[in-house]
Amino acid sequence: MGGIKVFGHPASTATRRVLIALYEKNVDFEFVHVELKDGEHKKEPYILRNPFGKVPAFEDGDFKIFESRAITQYIAHEFSDKGNNLLSTGKDMAIIAMGIEIESHEFDPVGSKLVWEQVLKPLYGMTTDKTVVEEEEAKLAKVLDVYEHRLGESKYLAADHFTLVDLHTIPVIQYLLGTPTKKLFDERTHVSAWVADITSRPSAQKVL
Protein backbone atom coordinates (compact mmCIF):
# COMPACT_ATOMS: atom_id res chain seq x y z
CA MET A 1 0.00 0.00 0.00
CA GLY A 2 1.79 3.07 -1.32
CA GLY A 3 -0.21 5.24 1.04
CA ILE A 4 -1.32 8.80 0.91
CA LYS A 5 1.04 11.71 0.39
CA VAL A 6 0.26 15.41 0.36
CA PHE A 7 2.78 17.70 -1.33
CA GLY A 8 2.36 21.27 -0.16
CA HIS A 9 3.22 23.99 2.28
CA PRO A 10 1.85 24.12 5.84
CA ALA A 11 0.89 27.81 5.53
CA SER A 12 -0.91 27.47 2.19
CA THR A 13 -4.72 27.76 2.43
CA ALA A 14 -5.24 25.21 -0.33
CA THR A 15 -2.87 22.75 1.34
CA ARG A 16 -4.64 23.22 4.66
CA ARG A 17 -7.97 22.52 2.99
CA VAL A 18 -6.71 19.03 2.10
CA LEU A 19 -5.06 18.41 5.48
CA ILE A 20 -8.25 19.30 7.36
CA ALA A 21 -10.19 16.78 5.24
CA LEU A 22 -7.64 14.06 6.00
CA TYR A 23 -7.81 14.82 9.73
CA GLU A 24 -11.62 14.75 9.64
CA LYS A 25 -11.43 11.28 8.08
CA ASN A 26 -8.72 10.01 10.44
CA VAL A 27 -6.68 8.86 7.47
CA ASP A 28 -2.91 8.41 7.78
CA PHE A 29 -0.77 10.33 5.36
CA GLU A 30 2.74 11.63 4.76
CA PHE A 31 3.30 15.35 4.33
CA VAL A 32 5.97 16.33 1.83
CA HIS A 33 7.10 19.93 2.22
CA VAL A 34 7.38 21.96 -0.99
CA GLU A 35 9.68 24.94 -0.52
CA LEU A 36 7.71 27.74 -2.13
CA LYS A 37 10.31 30.39 -1.48
CA ASP A 38 12.80 28.44 -3.61
CA GLY A 39 10.25 28.20 -6.42
CA GLU A 40 10.17 24.44 -5.98
CA HIS A 41 6.52 24.36 -7.08
CA LYS A 42 7.36 25.87 -10.47
CA LYS A 43 10.05 23.36 -11.40
CA GLU A 44 10.46 19.66 -11.97
CA PRO A 45 9.82 17.31 -10.33
CA TYR A 46 6.94 19.09 -8.56
CA ILE A 47 5.48 20.57 -11.72
CA LEU A 48 4.95 17.05 -13.05
CA ARG A 49 2.46 16.58 -10.19
CA ASN A 50 0.64 19.84 -10.87
CA PRO A 51 1.27 21.41 -14.26
CA PHE A 52 -0.18 24.70 -12.98
CA GLY A 53 2.72 24.95 -10.52
CA LYS A 54 0.53 25.34 -7.44
CA VAL A 55 0.29 23.54 -4.13
CA PRO A 56 -1.02 21.09 -3.07
CA ALA A 57 -0.67 17.88 -5.02
CA PHE A 58 -1.82 14.50 -3.77
CA GLU A 59 -1.16 10.86 -4.28
CA ASP A 60 -2.87 7.70 -3.06
CA GLY A 61 -0.57 4.88 -4.10
CA ASP A 62 -0.28 5.26 -7.89
CA PHE A 63 -3.20 7.63 -8.18
CA LYS A 64 -2.16 11.27 -8.48
CA ILE A 65 -4.36 14.37 -8.53
CA PHE A 66 -4.24 18.11 -7.83
CA GLU A 67 -6.74 20.98 -7.16
CA SER A 68 -7.56 21.06 -3.44
CA ARG A 69 -11.33 20.81 -3.90
CA ALA A 70 -11.01 17.76 -6.17
CA ILE A 71 -8.71 16.19 -3.58
CA THR A 72 -11.07 16.82 -0.64
CA GLN A 73 -13.94 15.36 -2.64
CA TYR A 74 -11.87 12.28 -3.46
CA ILE A 75 -11.02 11.87 0.23
CA ALA A 76 -14.65 12.34 1.28
CA HIS A 77 -15.88 9.68 -1.18
CA GLU A 78 -13.00 7.20 -1.01
CA PHE A 79 -13.04 7.10 2.79
CA SER A 80 -16.77 7.59 3.20
CA ASP A 81 -16.90 4.95 5.91
CA LYS A 82 -14.09 6.45 8.00
CA GLY A 83 -14.04 9.34 10.43
CA ASN A 84 -16.61 12.14 10.07
CA ASN A 85 -19.15 12.23 7.24
CA LEU A 86 -18.37 15.19 4.99
CA LEU A 87 -21.07 14.56 2.39
CA SER A 88 -24.81 14.11 2.02
CA THR A 89 -26.92 11.52 0.20
CA GLY A 90 -29.20 11.49 -2.83
CA LYS A 91 -30.42 14.85 -4.08
CA ASP A 92 -28.84 16.59 -1.10
CA MET A 93 -25.49 16.05 -2.83
CA ALA A 94 -26.61 18.75 -5.27
CA ILE A 95 -26.74 21.20 -2.35
CA ILE A 96 -23.16 20.25 -1.51
CA ALA A 97 -22.14 20.76 -5.15
CA MET A 98 -23.76 24.17 -5.08
CA GLY A 99 -22.03 25.10 -1.83
CA ILE A 100 -18.65 24.03 -3.22
CA GLU A 101 -19.16 26.28 -6.24
CA ILE A 102 -20.26 29.23 -4.10
CA GLU A 103 -17.20 28.98 -1.87
CA SER A 104 -14.98 28.66 -4.97
CA HIS A 105 -16.41 31.49 -7.01
CA GLU A 106 -17.88 33.93 -4.51
CA PHE A 107 -16.13 33.52 -1.16
CA ASP A 108 -12.61 32.37 -1.93
CA PRO A 109 -11.53 34.91 -4.59
CA VAL A 110 -12.46 37.77 -2.27
CA GLY A 111 -11.26 36.11 0.94
CA SER A 112 -7.95 35.12 -0.66
CA LYS A 113 -7.27 38.67 -1.86
CA LEU A 114 -7.83 39.93 1.68
CA VAL A 115 -5.43 37.31 3.04
CA TRP A 116 -2.85 38.30 0.41
CA GLU A 117 -3.12 42.04 1.18
CA GLN A 118 -3.20 41.84 4.97
CA VAL A 119 -1.26 38.70 5.87
CA LEU A 120 1.10 37.67 3.08
CA LYS A 121 2.24 40.98 1.60
CA PRO A 122 3.62 42.19 4.95
CA LEU A 123 5.50 38.89 5.30
CA TYR A 124 7.16 39.55 1.93
CA GLY A 125 8.04 43.12 2.87
CA MET A 126 5.31 44.60 0.66
CA THR A 127 2.71 47.19 1.67
CA THR A 128 -0.96 46.45 2.19
CA ASP A 129 -3.11 48.39 -0.28
CA LYS A 130 -5.86 49.90 1.84
CA THR A 131 -8.09 50.71 -1.16
CA VAL A 132 -8.07 47.08 -2.26
CA VAL A 133 -8.84 45.95 1.30
CA GLU A 134 -11.79 48.32 1.44
CA GLU A 135 -13.14 47.15 -1.92
CA GLU A 136 -12.73 43.48 -1.14
CA GLU A 137 -14.25 43.84 2.34
CA ALA A 138 -17.33 45.40 0.74
CA LYS A 139 -17.62 42.37 -1.54
CA LEU A 140 -17.03 39.94 1.32
CA ALA A 141 -19.75 41.66 3.37
CA LYS A 142 -22.26 40.88 0.61
CA VAL A 143 -21.24 37.23 0.49
CA LEU A 144 -21.43 36.98 4.27
CA ASP A 145 -24.92 38.48 4.19
CA VAL A 146 -25.96 35.52 2.02
CA TYR A 147 -24.21 33.11 4.40
CA GLU A 148 -25.90 34.81 7.39
CA HIS A 149 -29.31 34.24 5.86
CA ARG A 150 -28.49 30.66 4.96
CA LEU A 151 -27.17 29.88 8.44
CA GLY A 152 -30.38 31.26 9.91
CA GLU A 153 -32.18 28.39 8.15
CA SER A 154 -29.58 25.64 8.22
CA LYS A 155 -27.14 24.65 10.96
CA TYR A 156 -24.27 24.39 8.48
CA LEU A 157 -24.01 25.78 4.97
CA ALA A 158 -25.13 22.73 3.00
CA ALA A 159 -26.84 20.53 5.59
CA ASP A 160 -27.58 20.15 9.25
CA HIS A 161 -24.18 18.56 9.70
CA PHE A 162 -20.66 19.78 8.93
CA THR A 163 -19.70 19.05 5.32
CA LEU A 164 -16.98 19.85 2.78
CA VAL A 165 -18.78 23.12 2.05
CA ASP A 166 -18.00 24.44 5.54
CA LEU A 167 -14.57 22.80 5.57
CA HIS A 168 -13.41 24.56 2.39
CA THR A 169 -13.84 27.99 4.01
CA ILE A 170 -11.78 27.24 7.12
CA PRO A 171 -8.22 28.09 5.97
CA VAL A 172 -9.14 31.54 4.63
CA ILE A 173 -11.33 32.28 7.65
CA GLN A 174 -8.52 31.31 10.03
CA TYR A 175 -6.22 33.89 8.45
CA LEU A 176 -8.88 36.61 8.30
CA LEU A 177 -9.68 36.23 12.00
CA GLY A 178 -6.18 37.57 12.66
CA THR A 179 -6.89 40.77 10.70
CA PRO A 180 -9.34 43.70 11.04
CA THR A 181 -11.58 41.83 8.56
CA LYS A 182 -12.59 39.68 11.55
CA LYS A 183 -15.25 42.29 12.28
CA LEU A 184 -17.25 41.20 9.21
CA PHE A 185 -17.64 37.75 10.77
CA ASP A 186 -18.23 39.03 14.31
CA GLU A 187 -21.02 41.42 13.39
CA ARG A 188 -23.21 38.67 11.87
CA THR A 189 -24.80 36.49 14.56
CA HIS A 190 -25.23 33.21 12.73
CA VAL A 191 -21.96 33.54 10.80
CA SER A 192 -20.13 34.34 14.02
CA ALA A 193 -21.46 31.24 15.78
CA TRP A 194 -20.72 29.08 12.76
CA VAL A 195 -17.14 30.41 12.52
CA ALA A 196 -16.55 29.67 16.21
CA ASP A 197 -17.90 26.17 15.70
CA ILE A 198 -15.96 25.18 12.58
CA THR A 199 -12.65 26.72 13.63
CA SER A 200 -12.74 24.91 16.96
CA ARG A 201 -12.93 21.48 15.32
CA PRO A 202 -9.84 19.41 16.17
CA SER A 203 -9.03 19.05 12.44
CA ALA A 204 -8.99 22.85 12.03
CA GLN A 205 -6.81 23.30 15.09
CA LYS A 206 -4.25 20.77 13.79
CA VAL A 207 -3.33 22.82 10.70
CA LEU A 208 -2.44 25.95 12.67
Binding site: F63, H77, M98
Partner: protein, 215 residues
Protein backbone atom coordinates in the same frame (compact mmCIF):
# COMPACT_ATOMS: atom_id res chain seq x y z
CA UNK B 1 -43.89 16.67 -18.46
CA UNK B 2 -41.42 19.52 -18.01
CA UNK B 3 -40.65 19.44 -14.33
CA UNK B 4 -37.31 21.10 -15.08
CA UNK B 5 -37.24 24.86 -15.36
CA UNK B 6 -34.16 26.91 -16.18
CA UNK B 7 -34.22 30.59 -15.36
CA UNK B 8 -31.73 32.40 -17.58
CA UNK B 9 -31.01 33.72 -21.05
CA UNK B 10 -29.49 31.91 -24.06
CA UNK B 11 -26.73 34.52 -24.39
CA UNK B 12 -25.33 33.94 -20.90
CA UNK B 13 -22.32 31.61 -20.74
CA UNK B 14 -23.41 30.09 -17.46
CA UNK B 15 -26.95 29.48 -18.76
CA UNK B 16 -25.49 27.91 -21.91
CA UNK B 17 -23.46 25.55 -19.75
CA UNK B 18 -26.64 24.22 -18.16
CA UNK B 19 -28.58 24.07 -21.43
CA UNK B 20 -25.77 22.03 -23.00
CA UNK B 21 -26.02 19.46 -20.21
CA UNK B 22 -29.82 19.27 -20.53
CA UNK B 23 -29.61 18.72 -24.30
CA UNK B 24 -26.87 16.11 -23.92
CA UNK B 25 -29.21 14.24 -21.59
CA UNK B 26 -32.25 14.67 -23.89
CA UNK B 27 -34.25 16.17 -21.04
CA UNK B 28 -37.42 18.19 -21.41
CA UNK B 29 -37.22 21.60 -19.80
CA UNK B 30 -38.72 25.05 -19.90
CA UNK B 31 -36.44 28.07 -20.32
CA UNK B 32 -37.85 30.98 -18.38
CA UNK B 33 -36.28 34.25 -19.52
CA UNK B 34 -34.92 36.66 -16.92
CA UNK B 35 -35.09 40.32 -17.90
CA UNK B 36 -31.47 41.25 -17.20
CA UNK B 37 -31.81 44.72 -18.65
CA UNK B 38 -34.57 45.48 -16.16
CA UNK B 39 -32.35 44.09 -13.39
CA UNK B 40 -34.80 41.27 -12.68
CA UNK B 41 -31.94 39.02 -11.58
CA UNK B 42 -31.05 41.39 -8.74
CA UNK B 43 -34.55 41.57 -7.28
CA UNK B 44 -37.26 39.33 -5.92
CA UNK B 45 -38.64 36.97 -6.94
CA UNK B 46 -35.44 35.89 -8.70
CA UNK B 47 -33.27 36.45 -5.61
CA UNK B 48 -35.05 33.68 -3.76
CA UNK B 49 -33.80 31.34 -6.50
CA UNK B 50 -30.25 32.71 -6.39
CA UNK B 51 -29.36 35.07 -3.57
CA UNK B 52 -26.20 36.10 -5.45
CA UNK B 53 -28.40 37.63 -8.15
CA UNK B 54 -26.78 35.70 -11.00
CA UNK B 55 -28.21 33.49 -13.73
CA UNK B 56 -28.97 30.66 -14.20
CA UNK B 57 -31.11 28.95 -11.59
CA UNK B 58 -32.79 25.58 -12.03
CA UNK B 59 -35.88 24.04 -10.54
CA UNK B 60 -36.55 20.30 -10.75
CA UNK B 61 -39.78 19.58 -8.91
CA UNK B 62 -39.10 20.70 -5.33
CA UNK B 63 -35.37 21.05 -5.73
CA UNK B 64 -34.03 24.51 -6.45
CA UNK B 65 -30.37 25.02 -7.44
CA UNK B 66 -27.98 27.66 -8.68
CA UNK B 67 -24.29 27.78 -9.77
CA UNK B 68 -24.08 26.33 -13.28
CA UNK B 69 -21.40 23.75 -12.45
CA UNK B 70 -23.42 22.39 -9.53
CA UNK B 71 -26.47 22.20 -11.79
CA UNK B 72 -24.63 20.31 -14.54
CA UNK B 73 -23.25 17.86 -11.99
CA UNK B 74 -26.74 17.31 -10.58
CA UNK B 75 -28.07 16.70 -14.11
CA UNK B 76 -25.23 14.33 -14.94
CA UNK B 77 -25.78 12.23 -11.81
CA UNK B 78 -29.55 12.37 -11.37
CA UNK B 79 -30.14 11.47 -15.03
CA UNK B 80 -27.07 9.29 -15.48
CA UNK B 81 -29.14 6.68 -17.30
CA UNK B 82 -30.50 9.11 -19.91
CA UNK B 83 -28.94 10.47 -23.07
CA UNK B 84 -25.17 10.88 -23.30
CA UNK B 85 -22.83 9.97 -20.46
CA UNK B 86 -21.31 13.12 -18.98
CA UNK B 87 -19.15 11.43 -16.37
CA UNK B 88 -16.56 8.73 -17.07
CA UNK B 89 -17.93 5.33 -16.13
CA UNK B 90 -15.63 3.55 -13.75
CA UNK B 91 -14.28 3.65 -10.29
CA UNK B 92 -13.98 6.56 -7.89
CA UNK B 93 -10.50 7.34 -9.16
CA UNK B 94 -11.77 8.13 -12.66
CA UNK B 95 -14.44 10.31 -11.10
CA UNK B 96 -11.77 12.11 -9.07
CA UNK B 97 -9.72 12.81 -12.19
CA UNK B 98 -12.82 14.24 -13.86
CA UNK B 99 -13.24 16.44 -10.83
CA UNK B 100 -9.65 17.68 -11.15
CA UNK B 101 -10.34 18.98 -14.65
CA UNK B 102 -13.74 20.35 -13.64
CA UNK B 103 -11.87 22.37 -11.00
CA UNK B 104 -9.22 23.39 -13.55
CA UNK B 105 -11.88 24.84 -15.85
CA UNK B 106 -13.47 26.69 -12.95
CA UNK B 107 -10.28 27.95 -11.32
CA UNK B 108 -7.72 28.33 -14.14
CA UNK B 109 -9.47 28.54 -17.51
CA UNK B 110 -12.73 30.34 -16.90
CA UNK B 111 -11.52 33.37 -14.90
CA UNK B 112 -9.33 34.35 -17.85
CA UNK B 113 -11.55 33.17 -20.70
CA UNK B 114 -14.67 34.84 -19.31
CA UNK B 115 -12.93 38.17 -18.80
CA UNK B 116 -11.50 37.92 -22.32
CA UNK B 117 -14.95 37.16 -23.77
CA UNK B 118 -16.29 40.13 -21.83
CA UNK B 119 -13.62 42.43 -23.31
CA UNK B 120 -13.89 41.17 -26.87
CA UNK B 121 -17.61 40.37 -27.20
CA UNK B 122 -19.86 41.64 -24.43
CA UNK B 123 -18.39 45.11 -23.95
CA UNK B 124 -19.21 45.86 -27.59
CA UNK B 125 -22.78 44.64 -27.10
CA UNK B 126 -23.17 46.95 -24.11
CA UNK B 127 -21.72 49.97 -25.89
CA UNK B 128 -18.43 49.87 -23.95
CA UNK B 129 -14.89 49.90 -25.40
CA UNK B 130 -12.55 46.91 -25.39
CA UNK B 131 -9.38 47.55 -23.36
CA UNK B 132 -6.43 46.33 -25.48
CA UNK B 133 -4.10 46.15 -22.47
CA UNK B 134 -6.55 43.90 -20.64
CA UNK B 135 -6.91 41.72 -23.74
CA UNK B 136 -3.15 41.32 -23.97
CA UNK B 137 -2.80 40.41 -20.30
CA UNK B 138 -5.67 37.94 -20.37
CA UNK B 139 -4.45 36.30 -23.58
CA UNK B 140 -1.02 35.92 -21.96
CA UNK B 141 -2.55 34.07 -19.01
CA UNK B 142 -4.88 32.00 -21.18
CA UNK B 143 -1.96 30.88 -23.36
CA UNK B 144 -0.22 29.37 -20.35
CA UNK B 145 -3.37 27.44 -19.47
CA UNK B 146 -3.79 26.27 -23.07
CA UNK B 147 -0.17 25.05 -23.14
CA UNK B 148 -1.07 22.78 -20.25
CA UNK B 149 -4.22 21.65 -22.06
CA UNK B 150 -2.12 20.89 -25.16
CA UNK B 151 0.14 18.61 -23.11
CA UNK B 152 -2.83 16.95 -21.41
CA UNK B 153 -4.69 16.36 -24.69
CA UNK B 154 -1.61 14.70 -26.15
CA UNK B 155 -2.09 11.99 -23.53
CA UNK B 156 -5.86 11.86 -23.23
CA UNK B 157 -8.53 12.16 -25.86
CA UNK B 158 -10.65 14.47 -23.73
CA UNK B 159 -9.56 16.37 -20.66
CA UNK B 160 -10.54 13.90 -17.94
CA UNK B 161 -10.38 10.60 -19.80
CA UNK B 162 -11.08 9.10 -23.19
CA UNK B 163 -14.71 10.14 -23.24
CA UNK B 164 -16.47 13.50 -23.32
CA UNK B 165 -17.42 14.63 -19.83
CA UNK B 166 -18.59 17.70 -17.95
CA UNK B 167 -14.91 18.68 -17.70
CA UNK B 168 -15.00 19.35 -21.46
CA UNK B 169 -18.61 20.60 -21.62
CA UNK B 170 -18.04 23.38 -19.10
CA UNK B 171 -15.64 25.07 -21.54
CA UNK B 172 -18.09 25.31 -24.41
CA UNK B 173 -19.71 28.71 -23.79
CA UNK B 174 -16.48 30.71 -23.37
CA UNK B 175 -14.81 28.88 -26.25
CA UNK B 176 -17.83 29.57 -28.45
CA UNK B 177 -17.53 33.30 -27.89
CA UNK B 178 -13.74 33.44 -28.17
CA UNK B 179 -13.70 31.46 -31.43
CA UNK B 180 -15.67 34.32 -33.00
CA UNK B 181 -12.89 36.79 -32.14
CA UNK B 182 -9.17 37.33 -32.84
CA UNK B 183 -8.46 35.28 -29.72
CA UNK B 184 -9.33 32.20 -31.77
CA UNK B 185 -5.67 32.00 -32.77
CA UNK B 186 -4.81 30.84 -29.23
CA UNK B 187 -6.85 27.69 -29.84
CA UNK B 188 -6.06 27.23 -33.55
CA UNK B 189 -2.31 27.43 -33.00
CA UNK B 190 -2.27 24.43 -30.67
CA UNK B 191 -2.96 21.22 -32.66
CA UNK B 192 -4.38 19.04 -29.90
CA UNK B 193 -6.40 21.89 -28.40
CA UNK B 194 -7.68 22.80 -31.86
CA UNK B 195 -8.77 19.23 -32.54
CA UNK B 196 -10.50 19.04 -29.16
CA UNK B 197 -12.30 22.36 -29.75
CA UNK B 198 -13.58 21.08 -33.10
CA UNK B 199 -14.81 17.83 -31.53
CA UNK B 200 -16.64 19.37 -28.60
CA UNK B 201 -18.21 22.23 -30.54
CA UNK B 202 -19.49 19.80 -33.20
CA UNK B 203 -21.68 17.93 -30.74
CA UNK B 204 -25.41 18.00 -31.68
CA UNK B 205 -26.41 19.09 -28.17
CA UNK B 206 -24.19 22.16 -28.50
CA UNK B 207 -25.73 23.04 -31.87
CA UNK B 208 -29.13 23.10 -30.12
CA UNK B 209 -27.84 25.61 -27.55
CA UNK B 210 -26.58 27.89 -30.34
CA UNK B 211 -29.92 27.56 -32.13
CA UNK B 212 -31.69 28.85 -29.03
CA UNK B 213 -29.62 32.03 -29.28
CA UNK B 214 -30.88 32.60 -32.78
CA UNK B 215 -34.52 32.51 -31.76
Amino acid sequence: MATIKVHGVPMSTATMRVLAALYEKDLQFELIPVDMRAGAHKQEPYLSLNPFGQIPALEDGDLSLFESRAITQYIAEEYSEKGEKLLCPGCKKVKATTNVWIQVEGQQFDPNASKLAFERVFKGMFGMTTDPAAVQELEGKLQKVLDIYEARLSKSEFLACDCFTLADLHHLPAIHYLMGTDSKVLFDSRPKVSEWVKKITARPAWAKVIDLQKQ
